[in-house]
Symmetry: C2
Subunit: 425 residues, 2 copies
């Protein structure tokens, strides 16, 4: 890494750490004011945002980026307005900072509670969507943290402009502008520095594809709130309601293909497979979903007249397709289903469809995933659906935040002790 | 690292992961049974434990270890009985596993809650105290985790024998013996493998001195629950009750010198320094505590006739003495005190002595430490004093567990969703 990049990042880190102390003290009113100012500035300068974003888009096109990439990068009047609305919505959320649990008197006489406080400095590393600049900054600001944002080099002009508006908003609300800093170098070594400067950054939230996250995981010294894969399963139990199973499994796979909480593998109890698989797979095939199946499932489906079935390979069970492809396995019982999930799952979201309470309870207790569901679509694993009001990301890890991460995931609980001169004896 | 050690550790990891699934399902009754069996076996074989421990002790003496080291290593009838009592006490604690928060209906109709579940596999890396083998195993077992224990090579015979008793207890309670495994090689590369095998170990709890922890931090890929330093401060505010300040600050420093929650630096508001410092420092000097002071404090104390004051250096403010030494600084106000704590503290435990509610509130909110106290001795930062019933360690980090860590710190919350066939639209 070049020394100058390292020094620049260290300076950004120092300024963020300094600003984080003022942010931790800031009142809810002041933080909300800043959010509303930023929303106002975004609306006022919407045309300017479109113009600057156009520069990024043209450059990306010239660099031969594909249509999906261009789509993620492009800001329209609609996406700009939704950034402003997002800011206003975050301003309405309850401020978690400073909340104290009920104080409990201990044997010694001291009164013990916990206070919710910011983590300090958050680093966000993301790819081509410039709206992440606003969303992530808003959540960090609301939760009393300072933030260092490092977006993709393709969105550098858009991100730099949005950063100016954020800092104007902070200034107008009398908050330190260093509370939100955007890294404006496109040098990749800046990321290497961010993920290792443990003295200045308390947690990194990577937002992007699997390859980005895997690369960061290999090098990071700063803890991360992240998930790598969303290999989500639904298990249709022998005691499932067939109509419900069909409705829920259709939704889990086909409502949208790209989200991490979409189902990738369907597990079906062999006792119910002949009844549920043919009507369900008919829906999938009508919607153009490619089916990759094990031999038992193939037998069931071919007996029912299905064709065009692909043999599932070992690799299929390990793959997050994020596409109209579904792997299907017929299992003997709930144990085989849970063993499969243990072996191939990614601890993201897994569901059982059953009317049998004992089976539901076993599944809930024994499946080691961030979200475990009974009779619901895996697509519900989402910060908004969970009533968190916002989502900074999803975590498949077990320490700290697990599952959809809202404002609380950007905070910590410290112990507070109210004494009256107590001493230890 | 030699391939055979690597392979051995991988196999231990695989067995632990396998056992962790059965432990996650185990009933409270069964886990408590195991704890009580282990206590019984320890009492029954107390003489054998002393005998085997004697081998470790003699070897350590022959290797020239110092008296403090030998003291930590030696097991007496009293320490053996206290291990048995500890097991029985942990059996009486409430089992956190499987507890579900109140389910909340969301807009979609799904009911959302969180269930407390084990982390999975815990790694404990510790030094010469063999009783950690029992304490740590008991806490991991009670919280439904599997554990891999790696004690110091000096205690290898004691630890290996204790491991046998633990596994007999697990067997007697029909739990998998691989739920508690002791690494019996003294090859140091086993530790290097443990702290990097993220696929088999979910969290490492290091128990030992600063040099052990610093070494592990440099290499670890597995998350750790740990603290490196306990540089604890007490700030005596201008509005402090002088008698209370003297009593609490005496206790914080001198009740015991070695614990991480003992005070290392005293900060005194200049308005109250002439009244509080002379009587307090008289107590310290009478107890043989060496005082290292800044120039303002020196002036105050010398005016009161004190001698033998050492000039505090920059290094003193950064040092956890764990000894009868105290650094003292006179500050202009609470801001200077909090700036000092921010610059030199270790985010462990810091206290203010004041009768001024506004100052107390600022200190509580703004000091970024795991435990922040008003009018109490820093020595209270402890799992038992906090009513946790047990303590696996103390964390100065902000993610996951912060402060004294009890059973809950060895667990995680996963989301559970109870649906009725809901789908996303």
């Amino acid at each position: 890494m070049s020394d100058s990049i390292k020094q620049m990042m260290q300076e950004i880190g120092q300024r963020a750490r300094q600003a984080s102390r003022a942010m931790a003290r800031a009142s809810s009113e002041r933080k909300n004011q800043a959010l509303l100012y930023i929303a106002q500035f975004i609306r006022e300068q919407a045309l300017e945002i479109e113009k600057v974003n156009h520069v990024d888009v043209e450059r990306a096109k010239a660099n031969g980026q594909d249509a999906a990439f261009i789509d993620r990068l492009t800001m329209t009047p609609k996406t700009i307005e939704s950034m402003a609305l997002g800011l206003e919505q975050i301003a309405t959320l309850e401020d978690p900072i400073g909340k104290i649990t009920t104080l409990q008197k201990q044997a010694s006489g001291i009164e013990l509670g916990q206070m919710r406080v910011p983590l300090g400095v958050i680093g966000i590393i993301y790819e081509s969507r410039p709206n992440v600049t606003i969303d992530a900054a808003a959540l960090c600001l609301k939760s009393g943290n300072a933030v260092i944002l490092r977006g993709g080099s393709e969105a550098i002009d858009s991100n730099t402009l949005l950063a100016t508006m954020i800092q104007e908003g902070l200034k107008a609300a009398n908050l330190p502008i260093d509370a939100v800093q955007v890294v404006t170098t496109t040098d990749r070594s800046a990321v290497g520095e961010m993920i290792t400067m443990t003295q200045y950054i308390d947690v990194i939230v990577p937002r992007g594809g699997k390859s980005l996250i895997a690369r960061l995981m290999a090098e990071a010294r700063v803890p991360m709130i992240k998930h790598l894969d969303g290999i989500c399963h639904t298990y249709i139990d022998a005691d499932a309601d067939i109509a419900m199973a069909i409705k829920v499994c259709d939704n889990a796979k086909t409502q949208r293909y790209a989200p991490c909480n979409a189902m990738e593998t369907l597990l079906v109890n062999k006792a119910i497979a002949p009844k549920v698989l043919p009507p369900l797979c008919k829906i999938y095939q009508d919607k153009g979903v490619e089916l990759r199946v094990d031999s038992l499932t193939r037998q069931t489906l071919e007996s029912a007249g299905f064709q065009n079935l692909v043999e599932a390979t070992e690799e299929d069970w390990q793959t997050e397709y994020l596409a109209p492809i579904l792997s299907i396995k017929t299992v003997a019982d709930i144990d085989e289903a849970m063993n499969h999930i243990e072996q191939y799952g990614s601890k993201h979201t897994d569901a059982i469809i059953t009317n049998n309470k004992a089976q539901a309870d076993r599944f809930l207790r024994e499946v080691d995933s961030a979200s475990v569901m009974v009779n619901a679509s895996t697509r519900f694993a989402d910060g908004f659906e969970y009533g968190l009001g916002a989502e900074i990301g999803i975590s498949n890890d077990k320490l700290h935040a697990r599952g959809p991460v809202g404002l609380d995931g950007l905070t910590s609980l410290k112990y507070i002790v109210m004494g009256h001169g107590e001493i230890r004896t």
